[in-house]
Symmetry: C2
Subunit: 199 residues, 2 copies
């Protein structure tokens, strides 16, 4: 049985750390920045631009699987977004073909649905996510509590819209995942051996 | 650290089996029928009646924590329901005081919230729940697919209303639980050693 783990996660829930540590524990590949670099190589778009496309809400509201024919008229921004999404899905499939791996975000649970990955959703209470964000914030980030709360809400809203756009499903719906893990008051490192046992 | 595990579960998801096996694996108490028997002993209501109260939607719609004073006038059915709920909570707390245990349903996650139990929510896709129900159905149960689907939906709706009434929270909200476990296409027995590792 191949080991492919996809992690969807709320902003500040520690999902990325969980993914990285899980890959270490299982001695399998961890794909994150590699995906961005590979898209950049293939599309000649900048990594900075690709990250922005990945992190922001799609500039259109209906799900991608409805098909392009419904969209009034293509425009350059739309075309570039579509290029990023398509390359991203292609690269994720190639990486999963190549070796066992952990992939964080990017609707990998949906892209790889035929491969039956172990699909995790990582979440936490807002206060806990704020604490994690503070701990990991760059030294020059000085957000008030109100600003940070808003940032977390916005990021999760974007992820939700992005997921819905690419998959037609609801991001936070438990049924899209095998296990949902609440990291409130939990040390990510301690969860890793348990999750690794799911194989 | 005391081992108290509460399990909320969708009808047909295998949550009860998971609870029973988990208690066996961890060699701790498993409380289910004992709670009903104990309520019966203390209230002189029949076990059959108590089960019906536990399994059916509360006969009033606002959450219990709003307080009795808002309710227009007490009536015997209401009083009996309240008696069952109160005894049930008291017994759950006594059992958790007595020893490590697994408690299935009955809003035990909320009743024991000060004890920081490990709170699990067990769910599955509808088709999977239908298969489990068919496997476990008594020989004389002959429901059509449509009837079974409706039964599952009704049971989950009742559990949801019951939880909301007693706790003021949303039953299916991930944030009320530490781990949510999708049992679709999973063998419950195989999940047990993994979940047991959470301690």
């Amino acid at each position: 049985m191949s080991k492919i783990i996809t992690i969807s996660r709320e902003f500040g829930s520690g999902g990325r750390e969980l993914g990285r540590r899980l890959a270490e524990e299982l001695k399998i590949a961890y794909y994150d920045q590699e995906i961005v670099s590979e898209i950049a190589k293939r599309t000649e778009l900048s990594e900075h631009y690709i990250r922005a496309v990945e992190e922001r809400q799609p500039p259109f509201s209906f799900p991608i699987h409805i098909g392009r024919s419904f969209y009034p008229a293509p425009n350059p921004a739309w075309e570039q977004h579509m290029t990023v999404y398509q390359e991203q899905s292609r690269i994720i499939r190639e990486m999963a073909d190549k070796s066992d791996c952990v992939i964080v975000g990017r609707c990998a649970d949906y892209v790889l649905r035929d491969r039956k990955p172990l699909r995790l959703f990582v979440y936490a209470e807002l206060e806990s996510k704020m604490r994690r964000c503070r701990e990991k914030a760059p030294a020059d980030e000085h957000l008030t509590d109100k600003e940070l709360r808003q940032k977390i809400r916005d990021m999760d809203k974007h992820r939700s819209k992005y997921y819905e756009f690419l998959t037609g499903n609801t991001w936070s719906d438990k049924l899209n995942y095998d296990f949902c893990i609440n990291t409130t008051d939990r040390v990510i490192k301690d969860l890793v051996p348990v999750i690794a046992r799911l194989f």
